[in-house]
């Protein structure tokens, strides 16, 4: 018993149906184990089967999935094939789970406190009083790093920020005093500062409580910095595993090497020197302000984008980055202030004129899962702007796909048949279709794993070199900023706190907040440890 790991998965294989009596394997014979007090990171590209594997471990697979082989044991107790009733005794009180998306993972109509109390109650060794449960729940919220636990206890999910919700979910996972926590990308939706807090917290819990953690992530930086051991997953298989040092020093698998090479932290300069930069102004915003009913989202912000350069906008969640980008791209109207594209004042245009200017000004959305019409094929998606302006379309779709490193075979697919990275590439191809001069990208690569992210960043930089494009690039990842940006603007609470060339800002941050952002970059120390 004492020799058994907290979790041991042996030769697990899981399939999804792909039509009549045909199955596609999502996980193919994976084995792994997690020891007490150990943090194991599971990294891999989007669609490699990480979530499926984790779901399999907890017995939370969707009904359509089928476990073909393998076994799961917690501290030596075989739970493979247990029904929900028996698994209920394992979940929560032996293994805690932190889901990927904090926004949908809390019941919107119940107070946070209630949701934590449930977790306490289900897993209490013996029935307690309401007061006991309440105390335990508050305790759990505090443990999860919510200082103001009493207040959060009374609040509803929609009243919390993403980071707070994620911590509430951690509190729920901790409430049953599990021996092991499985966390499925617990921070990928959060900005770096919050991400750091949460990861620090998980690490602290491991040390203080001696629990085991299985951390799923697509961010190699995070894995290298935090984990004891790393498992690299690709196409449903573990292609590499071992202690961090070993992975870092002697990666045996090609894919791991590519992952390592693609990590933004591995670079200190721009991906490619900017040869197309000019002194001309492509886009200029003056004194932009915007308020929503309660929030002052933007407070007299200024921004100047030089022609042929990349201007990055960084800042924590809610800083007003998307609001600013939306105004620049003509989606949102500012309460006051002006935007000039070349000589035209954007803010003064009517709907028809705005349409014309879009030939030159394109936008890429943060989330590739929602920005493509699910009913359109890739071909129709890419051709849509061409049709809108009556531009000849012969052969353009294939050309554009090639530009984003996709081959023609994708033309007839629907977005649902593409991985996240592929979708984002389609979105970028679409934005490039009209040969715009300016491209506004709102966190266009944040949801992607590093290898795909690297591909896309390379593409952007190459395009810029070829055709002198200007980019406005919204991101919360300073590592990415260093890779592609010429200038950077740091925002906080709707105001610009710092702006200037990347080197200047990074080497000599003027503002305290900028310094905090820089500190929070994961994998920052990798170079020095190497």
């Amino acid at each position: 018993m004492t020799h058994d790991p907290l979790l041991r998965i042996t030769d697990l294989a899981i399939d999804y149906p792909a039509g009549r009596r045909r199955w596609t394997p999502a996980v193919r014979g994976v084995s792994l184990h997690v020891e007490p007090g150990e943090l194991v990171a599971l990294v891999g590209e989007s669609g490699s089967g990480k979530t499926t594997l984790v779901q399999g471990a907890l017995g939370l697979l969707p009904p359509v999935a089928r476990r073909r082989s393998g076994s799961i044991a917690y501290s030596g107790v075989e739970v493979t094939g247990w029904n929900d009733k028996r698994m209920a005794r394992v979940r929560g009180n032996y293994v805690g789970f932190i889901p990927q998306d904090p926004n949908t993972s809390l019941n919107p109509t119940k107070r946070i406190g209630h949701q934590v109390i449930e977790a306490v109650r289900f897993n209490a060794p013996r029935p307690g009083t309401a007061a006991d449960y309440r105390a335990a729940a508050l305790e759990s919220l505090r443990t999860a790093g919510l200082q103001d636990a009493e207040r959060v206890f009374q609040q509803f999910p929609h009243e919390l920020s993403g980071g707070m919700k994620q911590r509430a979910l951690i509190a729920i996972a901790l409430a049953g005093h599990p021996k092991i926590i499985v966390a499925d990308e617990p921070t990928s939706a959060l900005d770096v500062t919050v991400q750091k807090v949460i990861l620090d917290h998980l690490a602290g819990l491991r040390e203080r409580l001696g629990i085991g953690i299985l951390l799923v992530t697509h961010d190699l930086g995070v894995a290298l910095e935090r984990a004891d051991r790393i498992l690299v997953m690709r196409a449903g298989e573990i292609v590499e595993h071992g202690p961090v040092r070993q992975i870092l020093d002697q990666p045996t698998d090609d894919y791991t090497r590519r992952l390592l090479a693609a990590s933004p932290a591995q670079h200190h300069g721009r991906l490619r020197d900017n040869t197309s930069a000019t002194g001309l102004v492509a886009l200029e915003a003056r004194a932009l302000s915007k308020s929503y009913k309660h929030v002052h989202a933007l407070k007299t912000a200024d921004l100047v984008v030089r022609k042929g350069t990349t201007h990055a906008i960084v800042g924590e969640s809610g800083a007003g980055k998307s609001t600013l980008a939306g105004i620049l791209a003509g989606f949102t109207t500012a309460d006051s202030g002006t935007v000039h594209v070349g000589a035209t004042e954007l803010t003064a245009l009517n709907r028809r004129e705005l349409r014309t200017i879009r030939r030159d000004l394109q936008f890429v959305f943060q989330n590739p899962y929602t920005s493509l019409d699910p009913r359109f094929t890739v071909r129709r998606l890419v051709e849509e702007p061409l049709r809108a302006f009556g531009v000849p379309i012969e052969g353009r779709a294939a050309e554009l796909l090639k530009a984003v490193a996709l081959d023609e075979s994708y033309l007839n697919r629907l977005p649902g048949q593409l991985s996240g990275g592929q979708r984002q590439r389609v979105a970028i191809a679409r934005a490039l279709a009209l040969n715009p001069g300016i491209l506004v990208l709102d966190e266009a690569v944040s949801a992607l794993d590093v290898s795909v992210q690297a591909q896309i960043l390379q593409l952007l930089v190459d395009l810029q070199a070829e055709s002198g494009l200007s980019y406005v690039f919204v991101t919360h990842d300073l590592g990415v900023v260093r890779l592609i940006a010429d200038d950077v603007t740091v925002m906080k609470d709707g105001a610009v706190v710092e702006t200037g060339p990347v080197e200047e800002v990074f080497h000599a941050p003027q503002h305290d907040y900028t310094r905090r952002l820089l500190d929070a970059i994961p994998g920052r120390d990798l170079r020095s440890t190497r």
Binding site: L58, L60, P62, D84, K85, A88, R89, V90, R91, G92, N93, V95, G96, F97, P99, D101, N103, T104, S105, L106, N107, P108, T109, K110, Q115, E118, A119, F122, N123, F156, H158, E159, L169, I172, A173, A175, G176, K293, H294
Partner: protein, 315 residues
């Protein structure tokens, strides 16, 4: 919050006024003359014209249309809908007379329908057997495909005439309302169940349910504690809309079970072109529709905290 209430109340008032006016127009479009309908149709040609005049005068049907409208609207505002052309009874008392029965029947049927719909949704969500789910999911469309009068008559044949468990007609005692309630609830349950089955399925596969699983909750617990409430919220709106139609729409159930009610009153009033009575009923139904939807609008934020935020924002 006050603004929210005022806004919703204003809308409700508009709906009632518009319903009143529209009905007035509709009744004037009808090819029949309300005076004619006071006489035996086979004797119509025999009625002397001066008698017809006199009757028309009695009810003000000789006045210009706009004047009649203004007159009725003015009186309606003070709550006076005049007297039924047919029976001479004050419209208000004719409606109030049948109101309790109608409310009991419609509200009861709605409650029963909602319970049945929730039951169907619960079974469809909680069963792990595909065939059970298939059968249960076919129930809503089955429910809307059997005419009410047929199901009513068949239910009567079995439970009243054959088994003698319930009385066949009349409205004395709680036992007499059981069969009408069931009959009326069946078709109402269909669309609600259909909606619930869908939203139960959606909610059951949502992220927070996964969280609950991970907490160690059981299937039953999840359905009761998480899914039921969240998935039922949309049904509230539908139930509100349905209730308005139930009030006047229960005519067939009332007819089959020989109960008194607004449905039969409506049918009769339209059939005999009893203008004041029809107008009174329409206003009454519109008011109850508006009230119920106002009620739904007002309690929705209490049940769904996300709505509360929206309401607060409108302050």
């Amino acid at each position: 919050m006050l603004r929210y209430v005022a806004l919703k109340t204003g809308r409700a008032a508009f709906v009632v006024w518009a319903a009143f006016t529209l009905t007035f127009v509709l009744l004037f479009v009808l090819p029949a003359n309300p005076v004619d309908l006071l006489f035996d149709p086979t004797e119509l040609n025999t009625v002397p014209p001066e008698v017809r005049e006199q009757v028309a005068d009695n009810y003000g049907f000789n006045k210009p249309v706009l004047l009649q409208y203004a007159d009725r609207l003015g009186h309606a505002l003070t709550g006076d809908f005049g007297s039924s052309v047919q029976s001479g009874r004050p419209v208000a008392s004719a409606i109030l007379d049948v109101l309790p029965e109608t409310l009991l029947l419609s509200a009861g049927a709605l409650v029963l329908a909602v319970l049945a719909a929730v039951g169907i949704a619960l079974v469809a969500t909680s069963t792990r057997r595909a065939w059970v789910r298939n059968v249960v999911e076919a129930l809503p469309s089955g429910a809307v495909s059997v005419p009410v009068f047929l199901s009513g008559i068949l239910i009567l044949q079995v439970f009243s005439f054959k088994l003698g468990w319930f009385p066949a007609f009349g409205d004395d005692g709680p036992r007499s309302i059981v069969l009408p309630l069931i009959t009326l609830a069946i078709p109402v349950a269909g669309p609600i169940a259909q909606l619930l089955v869908r939203s139960f399925a959606t909610e059951f596969h949502s992220g927070y349910v996964t969280t609950s699983w991970a907490k160690g909750a059981t299937r039953g617990g999840i359905i009761l504690r998480d899914v039921l409430r969240n998935a039922s919220l949309p049904a509230l709106t539908i139930a509100g809309i349905t209730f308005g139609n139930l009030i006047a729409g229960s005519v067939i159930t009332e007819t089959v079970f020989a109960r008194k009610g607004i449905g039969r009153l409506t049918q009769n009033a339209i059939n005999t072109l009893d203008v004041p009575l029809v107008q009174g009923i329409v206003v009454f139904v519109a008011v109850s529709f508006a009230l119920i939807n106002l009620f739904v609008d007002l309690i929705y934020p209490l049940l769904d905290p996300r709505m509360r935020a929206v309401v607060e924002a409108q302050k």
